[in-house]
């Protein structure tokens, strides 16, 4: 073991730009507040010219930002030794992070297109702990060879581990499989379909709406009001045309965003690890151990249900997949819904090849879900009518929407305990999710009943599964108490072997 194998490396100089950018973003609110606030105060209090103060303030802030970015860069070193990865960082509070290869659960890589010619990327390493909200080891800008080295030492560490712990492992012989047994790459046609059927347009409308609100507050009202007066004079057709144009723009933003995000999505399985790659402008790679998967989620929004398409995600005990909404990692962006289970079975062996028939919510319980949905909607409608008077009555259109939301939830609710696994179907905001969970991954479960539900003999059932760093509650609501009791005792009497997540 020569000593030059483990020498401390600095990050690539491009990391300076990365730290600079991060500093600006972190300090942005401080910079803006102090520039505006302090600048104007000093102008009032002293006789010094306001603009001069602003210039001094701005340049000193700029200097500080650059100075600290340089310091952060200088104080960041990493070392890839045969036993572990060491990261040293921090200007005032020095942190030394040691990650032995055996503890690594998930590795992700993120490569922006402008770094590809330089063969640089960001590597994130995560272990089994669940303290922070971020992965433990982040190497912001390193050569691609770093990940290769890490993988090499990881495999070595695994072999060493197997040899010292005896051969009670069920895993195959210690060779690096160069041909992974199953690979799935999304076709452009499927990707197109996925991006087109996403209901992501709605959040974008919400975002644009929020931006409009911000703008409305800052620009003097008279400009906006006169613009609206102008618009009102235009013909109705033109107004409708503008709205449609606006919706098309939102749709295009959502569509292009998804294409860029999931471009050439690929999933493979290798040595009990799932490996996914996606993205055009930023190529992201996730490698996660199979046993970190807590639950498989088959998700469909109402549009995709109509087209018989589904998205497959996994809930993992990992923080890295957090960039895909709420700690789920997308493993198959889009697939024909009847093939979903079968395809997933190739990558995750405990997944059933076909989904069992589910016990459904009895019709008499539909009323409760619809009632709750309508009541919740009234919380929005009543203030609207009260404050906005006549214009507020437009919000009444939310009532039938609430009705259908409740109906959708009721129709898409169901569960099954076949094959020693728990399958739960849950309809929520026009999106159906079917969770398939091995019983050993259920952390705890609850049976709930209000005193009024004792008369109707109904109960709620909640199952808790680890997701990311926190908990995911999978709920079954308003089921007959007898069914809930049966499910409770089924989960209780299951003799599971203890496998920590």
């Amino acid at each position: 073991m020569t000593s030059n194998q483990s020498k401390k490396h600095r990050l690539h100089p491009f990391a300076l730009l990365f730290f600079l950018f991060r500093n600006i973003v972190d300090w942005l609110w401080f910079i803006v507040v102090s520039l505006i606030g302090l600048g104007s105060q000093i102008d009032k209090l002293t006789s010094i010219d306001g603009t001069l103060v602003m210039i001094i303030l701005a340049s000193s802030l700029a200097f500080l930002v650059v100075f600290f970015a340089i310091l952060r860069y200088l104080f960041f070193t990493y070392e890839i030794s045969p036993e572990m990865i060491t990261i040293n960082k921090g200007i005032f509070i020095k942190k030394h992070i040691h990650i032995p290869y055996g503890r690594i659960q998930t590795i992700s890589q993120d490569q922006w297109f402008f770094l590809t010619p330089f063969h640089l990327e960001q590597v994130k390493i995560e272990t089994a702990g669940h303290d922070d909200s971020k992965p433990e080891g982040i190497l912001p800008v390193v050569p691609e060879s770093v990940k290769e080295e890490i993988e090499k030492y990881r495999v070595q560490a695994r072999h060493l581990n197997r040899m010292t712990n005896g051969s009670d492992d069920v895993q195959p012989e210690p060779e690096i499989q160069t041909e992974p047994k199953d690979v799935y790459t999304i076709s452009n046609h499927d990707l197109n379909l996925f991006a087109a059927t996403s209901l992501g347009i709605l959040p974008i409308i919400a975002v644009v709406g929020a931006i409009y609100n911000r703008v409305y507050d800052t620009i003097p009202h008279k400009y906006i009001d006169s613009a609206f007066a102008e618009l009102a004079h235009l013909s109705v057709l033109l107004i409708i045309g503008t709205v449609v144009f606006f919706l098309i723009i939102c749709f295009l933003i959502s569509y292009v965003g998804l294409i860029l995000k999931y471009y050439k999505f690929t999933i493979t399985e290798n040595e009990n690890q799932l490996h996914t790659e996606q993205g055009l402008l930023s190529r992201k790679t996730f490698t996660i151990k199979n046993n970190r998967v807590q639950s498989v989620q088959i998700s469909q929004n109402i549009l995709r249900q109509f087209f018989k398409l589904a998205t497959l995600r996994v809930l993992t005990a990992s923080k890295i997949g957090k960039e895909d909404n709420d700690a789920t990692l997308t493993v198959l962006p889009v697939i024909a819904s009847d093939q979903a289970a079968g395809m997933m079975h190739k990558f995750i062996s405990w997944m059933p090849e076909t989904l069992p028939t589910l016990t459904r919510l009895p019709t008499r319980s539909y009323w409760y879900l619809i009632r709750n949905s309508v009541l919740l909607m009234l919380i929005i409608i009543i203030p609207c009518i009260y404050f906005l008077k006549w214009w507020g009555t437009i919000s009444l259109i939310l009532l039938p929407i609430a009705f259908f939301l409740g109906l959708y939830s009721a129709k898409n609710s169901g569960f099954s305990t076949a094959n020693g696994q728990l399958v739960v179907s849950d309809g929520h905001l026009f999106n159906r999710s079917i969770y398939i969970t091995e019983l050993k991954n259920i952390q705890s479960f609850e049976l709930r009943q209000s005193i009024w539900m004792t008369k109707t003999q109904l109960a709620h059932f909640t199952v808790n599964v680890r997701s990311g760093n926190g908990n995911k509650e999978i709920e079954l609501r308003y089921y007959p108490k007898t069914e809930a009791d049966r499910l409770f005792s089924f989960l209780s009497t299951y003799k599971s072997s203890r496998i920590k997540s």
Binding site: Q443, S444, E446, Q449, S450, I451, K495, S497, R498
Partner: protein, 159 residues
Amino acid sequence: MNTTEHLPTKIKNVWRINACISLACFVAAFIAALIASHIFEWQLLSTIGNVILVIGIAFFIIDMVLVDYRYRFFEYTLTDDSVLVQKGFIFRKLISIPIARIQDVTIEQGPVLQSQNLSKVTMTSASTSHTIDGLEPETAEVLRKQIMKLALEAVENDV
């Protein structure tokens, strides 16, 4: 071994003391808001202060009234496979934590619990945690040992 237990009666004192402490915090916030509104001549702060005081008193009354109810309707059972906790009467909950899922058991004693010589037991799984508000220290220790023993047995039953 499958006996259903209630909390020791002293827990009611703990809950009442906690309610008083909460009330004290609300009152302090009210006083602070009152003083601030005088210093800064800001009417809004004193209204906020009043609201805080009303909320604080409401919580206090609710907490005190519910002490007996909470005591009566809290039970826990340690079986071979799981810890069962049952609480509430109007809103009932039955929680099961499989022993095999329990990652660790923590016993804590804050100042209020120390004054009553009780300990709080927290059982943590990989994603949830469940608390028994207060037990006699010996009972807490016995419970912890039993859980850990059963948890270890579960590991040995590993196929």
